[in-house]
Amino acid sequence: MNKLTSKLKGNKLAQIILLVLYVLVTSLSLYLAQASVTAFLLLLFSLLLLYYTELPDRLKWLIAGVVLIGVIPFVSSTGPGYQSYMEVATVVGIYVAMALGLNIVVGLAGLLDLGFVAFFAIGAYTYGIFATGQAANFMPFGTFPLSGESFWIFILIGCFVAALFGVLLGIPVLRVKGDYLAIVTLGFGEIIRIVFNNLDKPVNITNGAMGLASVKPPEIFGYQFVYPNQFYFIVLAILFLVILAVRRFEFSKIGRSWKAVRENEIAAQSMGIHLVRTKLLAFAIGASFSGMMGVVFAAKQTFVDPTSFTLLESITILVMVILGGMGSVPGVILGAAVITILNLQVLTEVTNYLNQLSLDGVISFPEALAPAKMQRFIFGAILIIFAIYRPQGLIPSKNPVFDEESLKEGSKKHRKEQITVEPDKGFQA
């Protein structure tokens, strides 16, 4: 095994061939054995393998795009499990975007936010209220519900409203830090949930605990998005933008100042970093991703109610970030995928299997121990184990290492290039 990996290392062609083989085998098995969850999970796993190959970044993105846009929807499309696979993939996408948002706040800026799901709720309610008849209760002008075409605008509106609330939360945050901040954000999350839960009087805005039912599905040129396989592509598109934004932010000036604030606030301040602006920006950007996905979530579920936005959800997103690795973008994506699949697929499958066993009388299995109910237990254990043994997570975050010599050379070359433009070799050949 060691020999094999050492042979593979550095041999890009072999890596590509192996990866393609792997994708082919798993997609074929998914194509033939439609009901197999394992095949679907193995196919998703190919993306992780892709991450560990030594291919150039551009090629990696290309292959990932092909797998996500082409292979996965196509090979799972022929069987009965299609919509449920697409549902899982969509939810994974939603959580990945939220975890990336929280990663900016916790991982990069070091501000522990325990009420993060509040922004998701704000996004979901922003669309939910206007895409049902609910808005007519407090807005006498205009006709509600708005048509499904407004969904695309609402992705932006949800983004802005959530960012606005992020800034609002950020203002008190500027006075407190550390543990206090965790408690304040936790309180903020609870306040938002309680308010949404009770805002059905005196003016019925959120319809209280009953929730908003039959939210209009998105629509473009008369084409309605109803099924999970259609939402999959919306989520994929937004996710692409989010990942692009996060990667740009991380190594930009603002990303570096987030990290500086995380390491030492006072030192960062004395180096000329504007503390207020930096922290508020972290909150606003993190929240905005969550708000966008909230809009998608409301449209996908066609139902919004306060029970979807409990503290458990906030902790779930936190677990994703910790498990993957605070501050590491690929790590957080992995963490979000693992936790979501664990919750949606693995735990329910195991529960069903055990229930079947106890129905058949093979073993007697108490209902109380059903793995589907073990979420909190598992999350708690993950948090403790990772905090003690691996606080940097599954894929630790890396800072790019710059070689001073080559940088100097590069800038020299750059200057030279500006003066004398080298002829493109492609033309000569």
Binding site: V106, P172, R175, D179, E190, N198, P202, A368, L383, A387
Partner: protein, 328 residues
């Protein structure tokens, strides 16, 4: 409006003091740990909850064996309180040993995350066990101390109405007062208490003065958790029904109380707890009246959190705390 508020004021005060006493004792646990480790022990609310469950389980067990009928109820309660507080005390020490001590030198964020992990783990563990044993995780204990008393406030002035309370409220308040006086005595008058104060002030210097810091921290966790567990039992006796998720939100409010009084300050925690309890009961009774029916009693939690946020913003050192300046 004012007349209505005055009418219900005595009852609000009695209920508020009972609730506030519970907050105060839990707040003590937060404040002691924070004073010594500068760590918010998120799991403290869960220790309280576990204490409630252990206590109720013991009471149910004793009822089943006929002990409860055989001995005076107050003796049974004291027995349960002692056993529960010892159990939860060791639990607190165990938690510190497993989840906090290995992290003492890592960043605060990591310790906090581990504390949240412990809290979630405990919630589900208790739920498993209860659901496995009883089929349902919401537990109702045997009813004890249910005799009603009334204080004749109406004889003082006709604008008040009478306040009613149960014997259990009286027992709760007395027990809490005993616990607090005991703790105050322990911290201020005994040798171990002095060691605790020394460690809270400066851990390194204390260890140079031949104080076993680890032992003192364990002791702090033991005392805080034992008090929390005992309060859990009293809570269960007072309010009847408990479920595994009461600890978190109650713990959060107790933390609010600790912040309100100035975290790290034991007397402040007591005052903060009482204040928060009375304020919350007042809000629950009168919020609807005061806002003309716009906000109902369901907003009382919002009220508690709003207090927390306002205190943290404007007076982060708390009402009785001293402001500390940060050194670079």
């Amino acid at each position: 409006m004012l007349a209505d508020i005055l009418q219900s004021l005595p009852q609000v005060l009695v209920d508020g003091i009972a609730l506030g006493a519970i907050y105060a004792v839990i707040a003590l646990g937060y404040t002691m740990v924070y004073g010594i480790l500068e760590l918010i022990n998120f799991a403290h609310g869960e220790i309280f909850m576990t204490g409630a469950f252990i206590g109720v389980a013991m009471l149910i067990l004793m009822t089943g064996m006929g002990w409860l009928a055989a001995m005076p109820a107050i003796l049974a309660l004291i027995l349960v309180l002692v056993v529960t507080s010892i159990l939860t005390g060791f639990m607190g020490v165990g938690i510190e040993r497993m989840a906090y001590r290995p992290l003492r030198n890592s960043p605060k964020l990591i310790t906090l995350i581990s504390a949240i992990g412990v809290s979630f783990l405990l919630q589900d563990l208790v739920r498993f066990i209860t659901e496995y044993k009883r089929g349902n995780y919401i537990l109702t204990g045997p009813s004890m101390f249910n005799e009603q008393f009334s204080i004749k406030f109406s004889s003082i002035s006709s604008s008040f109405s009478d306040a009613f309370f149960k014997t259990s409220t009286l027992i709760l308040i007395i027990a809490v007062v005993i616990m607090m006086i005991g703790l105050d005595f322990f911290v201020n008058k005994t040798k171990w208490g002095m060691a605790m104060r020394a460690v809270a002030q400066d851990r390194e210097t204390a260890s140079l003065m031949s104080i076993n810091v680890n032992k003192v921290i364990s002791l702090t966790f033991f005392i805080g958790s034992a008090l929390g567990g005992a309060t859990g039992v009293l809570f269960a006796v007072q309010y009847g029904t408990i479920d595994p998720y009461i600890g978190f939100i109650l713990g959060l409010k107790a933390f609010t109380a600790a912040v309100l009084g100035g975290i790290g300050n034991i007397r402040g925690a007591m005052a903060g707890g009482l204040m928060l309890g009375i304020l919350e009961m007042f809000a629950a009774a009168n919020l609807q009246l005061l806002t003309g029916g716009i906000f109902g009693a369901e907003y009382k939690d919002v009220f508690a959190f709003a207090i927390l946020i306002v205190v943290l913003i404007f007076k982060p050192e708390g009402l009785f705390g001293k402001a500390v300046t940060e050194k670079v």
